[in-house]
Symmetry: C2
Subunit: 141 residues, 2 copies
Amino acid sequence: MRPNGCFGCGQDNPYGLQIESHWEGDEVVCQWTPKEYMIGPPNYLYGGISASLIDCHSVNTALSYAHKKVGNDDKYDRSIQMVTGSMNLRYIKPVPMREVELRATVEKVEGRKYFIKTELQSDGITCVRGDVVAIQLKAAQ
Amino acid sequence: MRPNGCFGCGQDNPYGLQIESHWEGDEVVCQWTPKEYMIGPPNYLYGGISASLIDCHSVNTALSYAHKKVGNDDKYDRSIQMVTGSMNLRYIKPVPMREVELRATVEKVEGRKYFIKTELQSDGITCVRGDVVAIQLKAAQ
């Protein structure tokens, strides 16, 4: 297994977010705690980090859903790859510098496009809402 | 001057983006080079970092425009504060791990809402487009 240095999900990137997402019923969920240097305004999480969390968690959700579709829940299939096509974010409340929870659902799938809705919550209160379109890459021939 | 630790613009945050934006005619421009750990897929910039750059650069643009409006180009006025209300991003091309340029314009201002259009370019090619609504906070009485 080669190192995964991705700033979002890379377990080999000590400065990154190292997010991990898992299914909980029909939702994909992630608990995550900020590092001190991920601050924006005093006491609050930097907005670009919220964007990063929503981006990665949504793409993870699409990726995992695509694996499920082909009946492959457990084994990682390298031929299934996603990129972010678009991301619409609404910042509702500032996010305190403590554990957050991400909750995502697959709204619909159209061809290679996966429409994902993700909420970033703090203490059960939704602070940021994201609509992400993840696009599955064509498998290499 | 207290330390500015913001992950986006904080000159006192060694792990952050440390972005700086300046006027060039009617546009606000920023050149920025990624650090190695800001990678996403191999050889390409992490999408959440592109989101962070567009977020910060757009808010910088709104902030600077608001200063100009009150005839205060040079002096930083702490009573003028902005937050990100919403951000819509379209990822058009992957962003190589080398210098990028951000170019932003103020599309319109409605009350306390500043509508900013920002492009992230690599070698003159637009890779990510962002529409950001920055909201000016009411000044403390």
